[in-house]
């Protein structure tokens, strides 16, 4: 079996400041990788480099494409990368406003990716959209409403439906539960866990909340000042942290 994603020496600087440096790892099909670290540690920078939203200064991101096998997504032409972005990849933003079209109905939001890859049957698109709204626990009678009339939790669930509708093979999530209050977070996490397990999704989840990775991630990478300081199986890292920074991170969470 080949890894779904092979990352080698990925580095991104903002002028003199380091965004992330020399990050390498493999992600296997069906695996969920968590990236944790305090605010400013480089998690979003790394995720955006992986997803093709930011151009890294160095390094390779080899993705096992459906059609042509392993391809470096850093050097592939923009049209191909965008195509991956609408088919094999999905990206869930922390702020649902960044990932939704606020002026388009819930059904249209979910249907967009289907239409972008050639779906041309209105009835079929609508049926799929309704099915997905159900899966993310949004009532069918909201299908023609705009997300601006939804609560924060509903917006985030809609964003997830919009992303998963085309059956992506790799989902990037940046703080998917950030900005939601605690009870809403719990429901969303539950939903995400169900979807990930049922669909056998591979995912990379960035968060500063260790509860999120404990629930969702198979493996963890801990970042500090742009560098990966520790990685391993989630339970191992959380229960027996080796690096002093991880220890601090774990203990500070446990105190909360």
């Amino acid at each position: 079996m080949t890894p779904l994603l092979q990352v080698r020496g990925l580095t991104k600087r903002y002028g003199a400041r380091i965004g992330c440096a020399d990050v390498s790892f493999d992600l296997w099909p069906g695996e969920v990788m968590g990236i944790v670290g305090e605010s400013g540690s480089g998690k979003s920078t790394l995720l955006n480099c992986l997803a093709g939203h930011l151009a890294p200064d160095a390094g390779r991101v080899i993705f096992d494409t459906r059609a042509d096998g392993s391809r470096d997504t850093v050097t592939m032409p923009e049209p191909e990368r965008r195509m991956l972005g609408r088919t094999d990849w999905a990206f869930v933003h922390q702020n649902p406003r960044d990932g939704l079209r606020m002026g388009v109905s819930a059904g249209g939001n979910v249907g967009e990716r289907l239409m972008a890859v050639g779906a041309r049957n209105y009835g079929g698109i609508r049926a799929t959209a309704l099915d997905w709204l159900g899966r993310v626990e949004i009532a069918a009678d909201r299908v023609d409403d705009r997300p601006s009339s939804f609560s924060g939790g509903m917006q985030q669930r809609l964003q997830i439906a919009r992303n998963l509708v085309t059956g992506p093979r790799l989902v990037f999530m940046d703080e998917p539960t950030g900005g939601l209050d605690v009870s809403v977070q719990a429901r969303l996490l539950d939903l995400l866990r169900g979807l990930v397990r049922r669909m056998g999704l591979s995912a990379i989840i960035v968060t500063h909340d260790l509860a999120v990775v404990r629930l969702l991630a198979d493996r963890l990478m801990v970042m500090k000042s742009g560098l990966v300081v520790e990685s391993g199986l989630t339970d191992q890292v959380l229960d027996d942290p080796q690096h002093a920074y991880t220890q601090l991170l774990v203990s500070s969470v446990l105190q909360v």
Partner: protein
């Protein structure tokens, strides 16, 4: 106006426009930027079409100018007069006799033949403009064939109104590649865009864009399988010539709101009536 060059524009400018036209013909449906000149009529009144016409005209051409399908609407009269004065070319109202037809908002009813050029005046060439106002973004969307948003608009129409609620400037896809704005022709005219024997050229002066459909180009109106494109018109026959096939204008007849429907294509209507008079005279 004898101090001006043939067809008003200087030869340098015409050459620049012809280059843009050649590129446009080579990449059907692609919007070619061109350095639109200031013309002696306002932007939005056909300056793009006028520049394209000026770059294509030869002294042997026979020119027809229509606006809303009619030869005698004021702006059509004004543009025709401009070319009579600056190019001295022959003009006609008969679609079949014209070698070059400049139009605003209509495609003539009479089928065009090989060797004819149809020049459209275009206000907003960008079919994605009202979904995405930024030119820098829409150009990227065309380059990457990123057209999902276009169908989202159609989806939203059906979700809200039960039909695709676009009646004119109905977007089309050209040869399976570029999504194109056919200018504000009623969607009734869209089928005539495809597979036409004539060369179709589109000029947007203010927006500085030229695009083209070479003869026999496949042009498909965007739709859904279960909500197919429908080229609709008023459900009447022309009150003057009786045609049930042509696109109709609605005319208000009296204070009580009485109305009648007549052909928007004045040449088509007049020709039919002349033939009817002839045949009734024979009887």
């Amino acid at each position: 106006m004898n101090d001006y060059n043939f067809a008003y524009l200087d030869e340098q400018t015409k050459r620049m426009i012809r280059r843009a036209l050649l590129k446009a013909v080579a990449i059907p449906g692609y919007q070619v930027p061109f350095a639109s000149r200031e013309m002696p009529m306002p932007y939005g009144w056909g300056t793009g079409g006028v520049q394209v016409t000026a770059a294509c005209l030869t002294p042997e051409d026979v020119l027809k100018v229509i606006d809303q399908g009619a030869d005698d609407t004021t702006n059509a009269v004004s543009i025709r007069k401009f070319f009579q004065r600056t190019a001295g070319v022959a003009t006609t109202e008969h679609t079949g006799e014209a070698t070059l037809i400049q139009t605003r908002h209509r495609i003539p009813e009479t089928t065009l033949h090989e060797g004819q050029i149809l020049v459209y005046q275009v206000p907003i060439p960008e079919p994605l403009r009202f979904l995405e106002p930024r030119e820098t973004e829409t150009r990227k969307m065309h380059a990457l064939e990123d057209y999902g948003l276009m169908h989202v608009k159609l989806y939203e129409d059906i979700a809200r109104h039960g039909v695709i609620a676009t009646a004119y400037a109905y977007p089309v896809k050209v040869e399976g590649r570029y999504v194109m704005d056919p200018s504000p022709i009623p969607k009734f005219d869209n089928p005539k865009l495809s597979d036409s024997a004539a060369l179709q050229l589109f000029g947007a002066g203010r927006e500085q864009r030229i695009y083209a459909l070479p003869p026999y180009t496949t042009v498909v109106s965007l739709d859904f399988e279960d909500y197919p494109f429908e080229p609709t018109k008023a459900d009447h026959a022309c009150a003057l010539c009786g045609s049930a096939e042509s696109y109709l204008d609605e005319v208000i007849m009296d204070d009580a709101g009485g109305r009648m429907f007549v052909c928007s294509d004045t040449d088509y209507c007049a020709t039919r009536r002349a033939e009817q008079d002839k045949s009734s005279a024979k009887i």
